[in-house]
């Protein structure tokens, strides 16, 4: 490098890092988050004249202030984590499924359909399996349509799955016109509010406990599936290089279809947990953008289910905390999106310093 005439050399040169020690990686990420927090406090101070310390007390208060808030925090983390786990196998395969939102919605719609049409006629022993099967199936179909075209015609899956989200939204809007209760309200209302048929049971009197346990179990299973199973191995080979996969005898089409079936089905499960396990209703906002946020959770965790526990918690923590700041200081509730956005920009940006090294021109001289 330094043999070249020095005035030709740019002051900073980039090179790819091999591996960064874990502790260093964690420090870089924490630095990124702190910078993001600092900038969002600056934003809050600039638009209001509040004391940032007060604001951040309120952030923690919003997440941990009352048992109810803690349960809400955990529930939201569980759902986000569930969808993130769902999209992970696809991403590991480099199949950019940004259709989780739609897959969750159809799963939610399938669950709601079972609750509405069979809730008061079938016994719970039949109803719950039916709900589970139909939500998984609905999500699976929604995920496999783009996967089929990707596998056989190499259709761009990012754009396809994106469009499928809006088709799903319209399907829900269409169904709501049939299910609306009361008539003319354009919303489904709480389904089976009297009989509670098809509502997931409250374990130990805690409404969200069952959701949280299901998702925790799923995290463990997904970790094992991706790390130790043959399927998991095939997924990572296809993700690294389709040609290599073909060369060593992996049926790439089959892997794509199977993985997206799994991914879609798990999104459908998230729909079930949302409808049957928490809101007991369905609307076009049931997924609430989580299908998009999940992409972030999964990507930030480098597709490692164990780390996703942390990343999903972190994102929900900032979202709920920021929502509390907005309520308690009477600001617009969209503040939450701004703060989360700023912090995420910094987390995304800090990834750069994990993967690349900046070589300053003078660094060599100093070392030598």
């Amino acid at each position: 490098m330094s043999h070249v005439a020095p005035h030709m050399e740019p002051p900073v040169r980039l090179s790819k890092r091999d591996v960064m020690p874990t502790w260093k990686g964690i420090l870089v990420r924490i630095a990124g988050i702190l910078l993001g927090v600092a900038l969002s406090s600056l934003f809050i101070v600039l638009v209001t004249d509040l004391n940032p310390a007060e604001v951040f007390t309120s952030l923690f208060d919003g997440c941990f202030g009352t048992p109810r808030r803690i349960w809400n925090l955990l529930q939201n983390t569980a759902i986000l984590l569930c969808i993130s786990l769902a999209v992970t196998p696809a991403y590991k395969m480099k199949f950019w499924n940004i259709g989780a939102e739609g897959q969750v919605l159809v799963g939610a719609a399938a669950t709601a359909a079972c609750m509405i049409y069979f809730g008061n006629t079938l016994s719970p022993w039949l109803l719950f399996p039916l709900m589970i099967i139909s939500s998984l199936f609905a999500g699976m179909v929604w995920g496999m349509i783009p996967a089929f075209f990707k596998a056989y015609f190499n259709t761009n899956e990012t754009l396809f799955t994106l469009m499928m989200n809006y088709v799903a939204t319209q399907v829900i809007a269409f169904l709501i016109t049939y299910w609306e209760n009361p008539k003319g309200s354009n919303s489904v209302g709480v389904i089976n509010s009297a009989t509670k048929a098809g509502w997931l049971p409250y374990l130990f009197d805690k409404q969200y406990l069952i959701n949280i346990l299901v998702v925790l179990a799923l995290t463990v299973v997904m970790y094992i599936y991706l790390k130790y199973s043959k399927h998991g191995y095939e997924i990572s080979v296809v993700g690294e290089s389709e040609n290599t996969a073909r060369y060593i005898g992996i049926n790439v089409k089959k892997v794509i279809l199977r993985t997206m079936a799994l991914s879609g089905a798990l999104c459908g499960l998230a729909g079930l947990l949302l409808v049957s396990g928490s809101s007991h209703t369905v609307s076009v906002n049931t997924a609430g953008g989580r299908g998009f946020t999940a992409i972030l959770v999964s990507w930030l965790a480098k597709f490692n289910p164990a780390v996703m526990l942390l990343t999903s918690f972190l994102i929900v923590f900032f979202e709920r905390g920021a929502a509390q700041i907005a309520t308690s200081f009477r600001m617009n509730e969209s503040l939450a999106d701004i703060i989360t956005g700023i912090i995420l920009f910094f987390i995304i940006g800090s990834e750069f310093f994990l993967n690349y090294k900046l070589n300053f021109r003078h660094s060599k001289k100093k070392e030598g």
Binding site: F149, T155, T158, L159, Y166, A173, F174, A336, G341, G349
Partner: protein
């Protein structure tokens, strides 16, 4: 449907299509450089609210009767703000090589949040409920072509729009010309197809990517401005923009990354977006199915181009992939 109703349908289709056209042209330029900017919905939203903010300050503190400044100031605000949003995306994906999908989606969340925050706060401060109205500014934006009224039904159908509508078409045509006929366009396309080759040929890959993404973002932002100033007549309400940003991305695919086709595609999508209002006695359930049409049509096109494998109709080859010179 009689002629008058059909003419009004065409008019509505055009004005519904114009914001989509801005978004689509902007996204086409961006994608031609290999950047899949899913932040476009957020950028368009910010483009709208920043125009409102600029218009609001000028109406309050400036000279409300000066048509030129009343139009120029919101436009500049909108261009700068949406350009800045696209710059955030560019910096993260081009310089810091972050994942494009992730960055774009965060940009959309951020933009929607920023827009709704400013819109909500402004209407709370003004005490106007949930909307902000800028009638004086909007009136200038809505001024039709001077000869429109002399042309009868034709004038009413095609010449009664504010200047931003014509600007959208002009920009799309210029973009098509640049892409098809100029050296700059050729270079831009090569950056999107194969940045390593472009780099070896001495093309400034980083520069092209930044320029295309930021200019594309600024153009898309005008779509938000047109929507709020002309389409809804200067009244901002949070969330009113709806899913138009995503539709713009759909048009990019539908029109095969060709800005000139984008003009027709946008009007068609505008028509599909509102056609349910023009069919008599359509039950609400079927209306919802009709609203699905633009997306279904897009999926169909996406599948068709991948089945036919015609080379000039494919997405830019390096779309969605960050470029790092030392990674070969």
């Amino acid at each position: 449907m009689d002629l008058a109703k059909f003419a009004s349908f065409i008019t509505q289709a055009i004005i519904t299509g114009i914001p989509l056209l801005y978004g689509a042209t902007g996204e086409m330029l961006t994608e031609k450089s290999g950047n899949l900017n899913l932040g476009i919905p957020g950028i368009m939203y910010v483009g709208g609210i920043s125009g409102v903010l600029g218009g609001f300050f000028w109406e309050t503190y400036g000279d409300k009767t000066n048509a030129f400044l009343c139009v120029l100031i919101p436009m500049l605000c909108s261009l700068l703000a949406s350009g800045a949003m696209a710059f955030i995306y560019s910096f993260l994906t081009i310089t810091l090589r972050a994942n494009q999908n992730v960055t774009g989606l965060v940009l959309t969340t951020f933009g929607m949040g920023l827009g709704s925050f400013i819109g909500g706060s402004l209407s709370t401060i003004l005490g106007t409920g949930t909307t902000v109205s800028l009638n004086a500014t909007a009136a200038f934006f809505k001024t039709p072509l001077p000869f429109a009224e002399h042309l009868g039904l034709f004038g009413k159908t095609f010449c009664s729009f504010g200047f931003l509508a014509y600007l959208a078409i002009i920009i799309a045509v210029i973009a098509a010309f640049i892409l098809k006929k100029t050296r700059i366009g050729l270079n831009l396309k090569s950056v999107g197809e194969n940045p390593a080759t472009a780099d070896a040929a001495g093309i400034n890959v980083t520069g092209y990517k930044y320029a295309a993404t930021c200019i594309g973002g600024a153009i898309a932002g005008l779509g938000g401005l047109y929507y709020v100033m002309d389409y809804v007549g200067g009244t901002w309400s949070n969330g009113g923009f709806g899913d138009r940003g995503w539709l713009a991305i759909a048009i990019v695919i539908f029109c095969l990354w060709k800005p000139d086709l984008g003009v027709l595609g946008s009007i068609l999508f505008g028509g599909l977006y509102i056609v349910y209002m023009y069919i008599d006695n359509l039950p609400r359930a079927s209306q919802e199915i009709f609203k699905m049409l633009p997306y279904l049509v897009t999926i169909l096109v996406l599948v068709l181009i991948s089945v036919r494998k015609k080379r000039e109709n494919q997405p830019p080859a390096s779309l969605g992939v960050s470029y790092f010179r030392e990674e070969r």
